[in-house]
């Protein structure tokens, strides 16, 4: 119990206090300088906007989260298979890797309209943008995990006349698990960004919108307090996704990292 208390005092309380200070300064700034609410609404207005639109915000967050999660899972599966292919053939890896890097370097915002054009509006378009933006970190990290194997372990498997498939299944894939989680952590955050960007262009329908669409909508109507609420929920969504992956990784990687059982 004491451990939790000291953990709370040292690592939870300070950022909370800083947050409270920041909100206070924000509030004082808005009041003192008499800033127009459509430019910068104070924290109270934002809180009211959250309360007024809570069901819509929650629904939008869920929808965006679902799009991000789908994009992330697809990119994880596809990225894993591509990395597996890369690890098995140097020729394929050399020929295709530059195109994988293209995924990383091309601004997704620039190609998102094109993707929507091809894939179509609605959920599938959002998932496609999220998928493309989160694919590269999975490919890069998993490939590196599958190929940087302790040479002694490869010799050990050779001494036991292990087949190529046995080396993949019993050595390469388990060795790559920590690197896969590193990629997943990066991609999980990106998948949320991808879903929001996708929604900027795709949306879902007139009555059905995620956070990205809501941002465009509230911005257009100069409902800046509502816009702030949307941004807050985007941040919380990204945080939730990243935290779940981190916790899952810490939980599953105990053996790889040499912790207690």
């Amino acid at each position: 119990m004491n451990r939790f208390l000291s953990l709370f005092l040292t690592s939870v309380l300070p950022p909370l206090l800083f947050f409270a200070l920041l909100v206070l300064l924000w509030h004082l700034g808005v009041v003192l300088f008499d800033i127009k609410p459509f430019l910068l609404p104070g924290p109270l207005r934002v809180a009211r906007a959250i309360a007024d639109h809570f069901p819509a915000l929650l629904y939008a967050t869920g929808l965006t989260g679902l799009g991000a999660l789908s994009g992330f899972l697809l990119s994880f599966a596809a990225g894993f298979l591509i990395a597996l292919l890369f690890s098995q053939s140097r020729i394929i890896a050399r020929s295709l890797y530059p195109y994988a890097i293209f995924l990383q370097t091309v601004p997704v915002v620039a190609i998102a309209p094109l993707i929507i054009l091809w894939i179509g509006h609605g959920f599938q378009g959002v998932v496609a943008v999220s998928f493309i933006i989160s694919l590269f970190p999975i490919i890069a990290n998993t490939t590196s995990g599958l190929t940087s194997i302790d040479p002694n372990l490869l010799d050990l498997f050779a001494m036991n006349n292990a087949s190529r498939w046995q080396v993949v299944r019993k050595l390469r894939i388990p060795s790559a698990v920590p690197a896969m989680f590193t990629g997943a952590k990066i991609s999980s955050g990106l998948s949320v960004i991808g879903a929001i960007v996708g929604e900027f262009f795709a949306g879902y329908g007139t009555d059905d919108f995620g956070l990205g669409y809501l941002i465009i909508l509230t911005n257009g109507q100069a409902k800046t307090d509502y816009l702030f609420a949307c941004i807050l929920f985007c941040t919380l969504l990204g945080l939730a996704v990243f935290t779940s992956i981190s916790l899952l990784s810490n939980f599953l990687l105990v053996r790889w990292n040499g912790g207690e059982d």
């Binding site: 050990l156 001494m159 036991n160 388990p174 053996r255």
Partner: protein, 259 residues
């Protein structure tokens, strides 16, 4: 058939064996070697003399550059593929961190599509790790990890066990204890052992024969018999005759170093 051919030929035979790496480093040159089945031989030499290279050639892990090398009258790679009775213990324990001790020891059997958990337990008992079967490598000391590594080699019931400086990273007390355990294991099973080390006392204590290698390019420059009977007692280390042989091995090592 001449009578000579009826004699069992040595398990490992090398003639004028040479190894040159792609970067033009001449690791071994003109190595002649005969190791009869059931013998425990140590190879000592200065660091970087090609001891490990010789072991990896015998294991069939790297191709030779010149000369001949056979294991049980077959090229090493063939011997490894056909007989499957070759095991290698590396300088580091080289365990899979995601597997328990028992899982690590079971691995060679798994790769052969054999499952024999009872035998795994028996081997773990033999190396004194029965209570740690469910522990993970990260929970073990360096000496215990090396025991797991040896157990993993023994689980295949090898004819030929190649040991590449397995105790080099351990402290002196642990090293001596593991030397005694390895000796006991050999005395019980009598597999053929080739043990690479740069520790003279370890080599003399364990072996029936100590081969001394020159600095690179490695050649065998001395072949010193260690005629003590088995089972050997740990107190052997303090016997005058033991120290005389160790002194001779050291002398050969140093003479090669100066020249």
């Amino acid at each position: 058939m001449t009578p000579l051919e009826n004699q069992p030929s040595p398990l490992v035979v090398a003639r004028r064996l040479g190894k040159r790496f792609a970067n033009d480093i001449e690791a071994l040159l003109g190595v002649d070697l005969d190791i009869p089945g059931g013998e425990f031989v140590s190879i000592v030499g200065p660091s970087g003399c090609g001891k490990s290279t010789l072991l990896r050639l015998i294991a069939g892990l790297i191709p030779l550059s010149s000369g001949d090398l056979t294991v049980d009258q077959l090229p090493p790679v063939e011997a490894r593929r056909q007989r499957q009775e070759l095991a290698y213990v590396f300088q580091e324990a080289t365990l899979l961190p995601w597997r328990t001790v028992a899982g690590n020891v079971l691995l060679p059997l798994e790769l052969r599509n054999q499952r024999d958990p009872a035998f795994v337990d028996q081997i773990l008992e033999l190396v004194g790790l029965a209570d740690f079967a469910r522990a993970y490598p990260s929970q073990l000391s360096g000496g215990m990890r090396m025991r797991v590594s040896i157990a993993r080699a023994l689980v295949t019931r090898p004819d030929l066990l190649l040991l590449d400086e397995p105790f080099g990273a351990l402290d002196e007390i642990t090293r001596q204890r593991l030397n005694e355990e390895l000796l006991r294991l050999w005395e019980e099973e009598r597999w053929t052992g080739i043990f690479v080390t740069h520790n003279v006392y370890e080599a003399v204590f364990l072996s029936q024969r100590v081969l001394v290698m020159s600095p690179r390019p490695g050649r065998l420059i001395a072949d010193i018999a260690v005629p003590f009977a088995h089972p050997r007692d740990p107190d052997l280390r303090t016997a005058p005759e033991f120290n005389r042989i160790a002194a001779e091995v050291s002398h050969q090592l140093l003479s090669s170093h100066i020249s």
